[in-house]
Symmetry: C2
Subunit: 224 residues, 2 copies
């Protein structure tokens, strides 16, 4: 994770392996990128403001070869994407942390993870049909089954919502799996080594205080 | 989360509340910032490359009013931070996702979260004592107790490791808690509403394949 590619990869349907670390891989293939994106719903969106980087967490969804993020029409990168036909440069990064890798040496401590970094020009989506599709997709990506089980946005709400699209063109996937890669001369040291698994879990749903007791928990929530 | 402050907050020991959302808060106070930073160890580091934003996941630690991240000396932002005495502009964002908020309307769907966004100029740390302290802190922040229970970096490893510091000056904390904020006219709709809690958990440690069976699991791992 501490050795990122110095130039972003172009999205081509082939796979390559970096040589620097045994089990660390830079994957350019479509399937890896999609799998990592589809396994999450929170991304970190980077943009440039007055020459300085800004990184904000937000929800996203993938639809085919497009990433959608949404937000208030008042938020700066979304406003700029709306004003600028050429689009605004963004970076969308999705990271799943899978484990802490504890080696005999501090130097070889690492993390197991899967990440996707997508670069490109973000465009504000103005087509109404595409906007509705993107908003449904963002809800569905976080909670599959939910879009049909909630009230969709009315015209006033739609007008207050900006939807931004980033085409998946300049995108790379990177991941690490497996145990520590210790130096042979360190293997006799008296320290425990291995992996502490990390995962993100969903707990039992908590009903809203104003929810009628007549409304049961939907199946798409009991199944999680 | 979709309505970020348009200008970053200055770090002052007072707290303020944004008016736009009932339970969404922009906190400037030191305690909130520290608590959110100390509850995590993975950040998203943003920097600017050729005018475009780049966002990469990496480990961090807070020591007092300083954030440290480390990486290979070959990685670009760290190299640039080393070449440039004035520092390079970065944004470090830490996000803890606490829940998916399901409202009656798609529009009021939201997330519960805690996040810190720190802006500023990153400097490469050259002082050897500070470098060692920072590396220990990064290991300790991820796995408390581990720095003393592993082999510390030797001179060759230290030379291959870049440590970058960002002083916590221009930093803001933001969080959301609680249930959905539905429109009164939506409360009668037949959809379930509430919160699906989300948390990050650590599983049972997995010993390395080459670990001697004589070495027991350390206490700092059994306690997690």
């Amino acid at each position: 994770m501490d050795d990122p590619p110095s130039t972003p990869a172009t999205y081509t349907p082939t796979a390559r392996t970096t040589g620097s670390r045994a089990r660390e891989r830079l994957a350019y293939d479509r399937e890896s990128v999609h799998a990592i994106l589809d396994a999450g719903y929170l991304c970190h969106l980077g943009f440039v403001r007055d020459g300085a980087p800004v990184v904000l967490p937000t929800l996203y969804a993938r639809v085919g070869e497009r990433l959608y993020v949404h937000g208030s029409t008042g938020s700066r990168p979304l406003r700029e994407a709306g004003r600028n036909d050429a689009g605004v440069p963004v970076c969308v990064t999705v990271t799943h942390l899978d484990g802490l890798v504890l080696a005999k040496s501090a130097f070889h401590h690492s993390v197991n993870y899967r990440s996707v970094v997508a670069h490109g020009l973000a465009h504000q989506v103005t087509d109404q049909e595409e906007r509705l599709l993107a908003l449904d997709a963002i809800v569905e990506n976080a909670v599959p089954g939910r879009a049909d089980d909630s009230r969709r946005a009315n015209p006033k709400e739609l007008a207050a919502t900006a939807v931004v699209r980033l085409d998946l063109e300049e995108v790379s996937a990177k991941s690490r799996t497996g145990g520590p890669n210790d130096e042979p001369e360190d293997l006799g040291l008296p320290y425990w080594s291995g992996v502490l698994p990390v995962s993100t879990v969903h707990g039992a749903p908590i009903p809203a205080g104003d929810l009628s007791p007549d409304i049961p928990l939907p199946g798409y929530l009991t199944a999680r």
